[in-house]
């Protein structure tokens, strides 16, 4: 890891620790917007990372951005950092303006259809998208719509939409956005290869969720280690019981595996578009989340699932993120199909690729 990356990580870790208190996250889950956290990150130049300085970004590479995201996952930061990164990367690539404000993207995971209609006055956008992350707090919505002729990516104003609040298991905003003929004359937009953009977003999405989960997994291990050290039962620390030790070890194994899978996916992403590592990461980290979260709860006992405790802020995010942008089964099906197509003789080459 280079010096620059280390500095970024230290700086973001400090910001996240300062802001992401138990209370702040609880309030966010009940509807408050973590504006101060966003502002602080923006001032530190952490929002437009991996967008070149020429087009107004902070510079740095994908690895820097994804490292920041991992920390935000670790501290359950209730902000659309992943979505804003994804959106800005896409906008920069399309030559559209980028933003320091919170952004989101729709339709999210193809969940809904957005149409672009041409009329006398120009173009309008219509449709409904479900589960749009953080839509109610976004200052711009990046929309991919389909006209009869082509696909467009447009940046529109949330004020022109109806946003119906919803949330995922973690209390993160996952809203319904209704576009009832939003006029496009003042919106930045560009024509795109629809399938390519969709694939890219799906792959960006899987990677950002993988990295967020890797962060949250680190957190639940820390919490489990601390709790099992402090908590006494039958006159000894919990972590002195073999039955607990065996579970701590399994938990540590999953967290370590998730970390390695995320590292490789990030590394591959930095160098070139290599979705294989992303797929492997989403599968393996999804498995890790599914094994690790119940263990962390079991170690914490009942206290861990009360709103008094912070543990569930991470586990509920793991339960949400493991499903977003494809479950481990969905990605495994895709990977397995590919492996079966190339055949037994290529299996080992795939593993060592």
């Amino acid at each position: 890891m280079n010096e620059m990356r280390k500095m970024i990580i230290d700086s973001v870790t400090k910001i996240m620790k300062d802001f992401c208190s138990k209370e702040m996250i609880n309030e966010s889950e009940h509807g408050a917007w973590a504006g101060q956290l966003w502002k602080t990150l923006a001032e530190a130049g952490m929002i437009t990372v991996a967008v070149s300085e020429e087009v107004g970004g902070t510079g740095g590479d994908y690895g820097d951005a994804l490292s920041i995201l991992r920390i935000s996952g670790k501290y359950s930061a209730p902000i659309p950092l992943a979505e804003t990164y994804m959106a800005n990367w896409l906008l920069a690539e399309l030559g559209l303006p980028i933003y320091e404000q919170p952004l989101t993207i729709l339709p999210f995971e193809n969940n809904g259809t957005i149409e672009v209609r041409r009329n006398a006055n120009g173009m309008t956008i219509c449709g409904t998208a479900k589960n749009v992350p953080w839509a109610r707090y976004a200052e711009k919505l990046v929309v991919m719509g389909q006209s009869e002729q082509e696909f467009l990516v447009a940046v529109i104003d949330p004020d022109d939409c109806i946003i119906i609040p919803g949330k995922n298991l973690a209390g993160e905003a996952r809203d319904i956005v209704e576009l009832n003929g939003v006029e496009m004359q003042d919106c930045p937009y560009a024509a795109v290869d629809g399938e390519a953009v969709q694939n890219k977003l799906q792959s960006y999405g899987a990677l950002t969720r993988s990295v967020l989960m890797a962060g949250a997994l680190e957190r639940i291990l820390e919490l489990a280690l601390a709790y099992s050290n402090e908590r006494q039962q039958f006159g000894r620390s919990l972590n002195r019981f073999q039955a607990i030790q065996q579970q701590i070890a399994i938990l540590a194994g999953e967290v370590a595996a998730a970390g390695v899978a995320a590292d490789y996916a990030v590394e591959a992403f930095t160098d070139a578009v290599n979705p294989t590592e992303t797929i492997v990461a989403k599968i393996r980290i999804g498995q890790a989340a599914s094994i690790a979260a119940p263990i962390a709860h079991q170690i914490h006992g009942a206290i861990g699932f009360t709103d008094e405790h912070v543990l569930h802020q991470s586990t509920r995010r793991l339960w949400s993120w493991r499903d977003e942008f494809g479950t481990e089964s969905e990605w495994a099906e895709q990977l397995g199909k590919r492996l079966m197509n190339t055949g037994a003789g290529s299996l080992w080459s795939f593993i060592t690729l």
Binding site: T128, A129, A302, E308, W319
Partner: protein, 389 residues
Amino acid sequence: MHKLLELPVVKLSEETEKLREEVRKFISEELNADSFEPKCDSWLGELSQEFSRKLGERGWIGMTWPKKYGGHERTAIERFVVTEELLAAGAPVAGHWIADRQTGPLLLRYGTEEQRQFFLPKIAKGECYFAIGLSEPNAGSDLAGVLTSATKVEQGWILNGSKLWSSGAHHAHYMIVLCRTSPQNPENRHQGMSQLLVDLSANGVTIRPIRLMNGEHHFNEVIFEDVFISDDMLVGEVGNGWKQGMAELAYERSGPERFLSTFPLLVELVDILQDHTDKRIHIEIGQLAARLRTLRHMSLGVASLLQRGVTPDIAAALVKDLGTQFERDVAEIARLLVSPRLTAPSAVHAPTKYEKRLAEALLHAPGFTLRGGTTEILRGIVAKGVAAR
């Protein structure tokens, strides 16, 4: 077969099956009248005073108790059948659940005649709810850590301390509180405890919600500050509290609520998959069904032994362990078969029933393997039990 693991094959009589049909008819009528929505884990958190009262009217609370206390002198198997039907339907039974399951049996075994006559008929009517008073901040798996204490005064006791996790205490009328009536003895940590019956509306009782991670309020902290308990509210003998509390815990295990908490999700899963013909779906559903059916047979076997006066502690602990793993697996298998984000058409804004049941199951799941004895504790009991024989 190892003696402690032997469970009988139970054949239900025609009469019992008739009773089942009655319960099903009742549930179906209630569903048609929209009186409740089937929910996961309904016995923990779904309370309906009216529903409880209706069950009381039909004689489905306190079923096994003597008639003179308002009971119905039916068999443990009959109670099992009523219970499993209600749970499978996700019915709102949380109100009277604890009182029916453990307060009643505890009072029948250890209570005074006056206590029985006063409380049991009310419970059986579905009008008197109890909360559990065992756990404390430093006494969860290790109940010997109980610090709540009662000091003897004239004609009664003064109670101070607090109880944790008391589910439904904010609706319940009473709690049976395990407390110290003599100071802690480091040599024998189980000595000097007693059980007192506490009116939760009494002066000095404060009930504070402990919200779950999803914001639901089922659990409470109940704080006692100089609460006066009259002598006639002592349950059993002074100093016998540990043994009584352990007996109470045993009533908690191996009932159908230890494997049916997520059954309403399984129903929605099968429903939503109706039109799929994927081999994987068939295999997963078939495996879950085989596990569930076997679990039910095991649980029925435990009920039948209890009926015969045997207390199959080891088998009950096993059923609880296997059952709560099953409850969790239903949720984990469901999400991989039908990812919730893909279920609802975008035109529908409200979450589907499947999504709601899945969320309930996932968010309640951490409790399954903790409540009523953690998996680790139960496995320790089982291992020591079968090794000792």
